[in-house]
């Protein structure tokens, strides 16, 4: 990760800025968010298909932002940022997933029916 230029503007971290890449990331993410909004606000799909569709939109939008905006790639300069991100993803998923799973099982076994409520989910 050493480059040793005298002019800090010549540093690869500065030189990797690229308008075309930023505009591409913006357009892709915006179109996906617009598509998700149209699908949800019009209730255009049955609930489970709708959830899958907007999850797909979110996943693709995040990949586009991470690649086109945050410059995560396999180049010599960015590889360690990418490795840190890849190692971060399981932590993020496990933290949310295990907590959610734990509580959903707990609710299933312990939550009494409250009068006047439509019930569990």
């Amino acid at each position: 990760m050493s480059h040793g230029q005298d002019n800090p503007l010549a540093h690869p971290e500065v030189q990797m800025a690229n308008n075309r890449s930023y505009v591409t990331g913006f357009i892709v993410a915006s179109l996906l968010m617009a598509a998700a909004t149209v699908l949800v606000s019009g209730h255009l799909l049955p609930p489970f298909a709708l959830l899958l569709a907007i999850t797909g939109c979110a996943g693709l939008a995040i990949i586009a932002q991470v690649y086109f905006l945050l410059h995560m790639d396999l180049s010599e300069h960015s590889i360690w940022n990418t490795v840190a991100l890849i190692m971060f993803i399981p932590l993020f998923v496990i933290t949310i997933g295990l907590t959610w799973w734990m509580f959903s099982q707990l609710y299933l076994r312990t939550m009494p029916m409250i009068p006047g409520m439509p019930g569990m989910h």
């Binding site: 909004t37 932002q65 949310i96 409520m117």
Partner: protein, 211 residues
Amino acid sequence: MNSAAEKVDPEKVVLWAGGHEGHDVISTRTFGFWLYILSDGMLFATLFAAYGVLSYTHSYYTGPTPAQFVAPWYTFIQTMALFLSVLAYGFSMTALKHGNRAGVINGLLAASVLGVVFLGLDIHDVLRLFGVHITPRTSGGLSAFYVLTQVHAAHIFFGLIWMLVMIYQVMRKEFTEEVIGRLISLRMFWQFQAVMWVFIYVFVYLWGYMS
């Protein structure tokens, strides 16, 4: 070799090969700050987990749910304000690449104005909900909803303050390693807020609206 330990002078010892290739300040800072940003992502993970376990029907205790108060197109405009702000910041970084000081300042100004628009829309939305007595005290589900969305808004707020500081520094200082390092750190911070917003918009606002 065997007398090396005796000769160490704490005043003069060098901890790494100082003159070897030069210490790459920008790369080191950028990687360090990226690790900080990922830790910030873990903060969001805990809040997503809290929202996940507090968004069951019983979590709202017969009170209002996001399905009743979320306005998808309103929040979509917020999304666009944030994405455009990130885009403007990107243009500022391309101007930096060419050493164009005015371009950097214009990009940062545009990014701040759009960030203020995002924050203004968020505050307006919160006040609208407070006006109809939908507050964090209403139910556990709403507490989790407010904490998650407003922690993100707080990130935007502090990012905006940082952006004002950077506009001042770009106007008053040269493009030194330090100033450039801060601009790059803020770029990653700002773009990461847009990534987290995609999760919040889709899984809190949109999913909440359709549930």
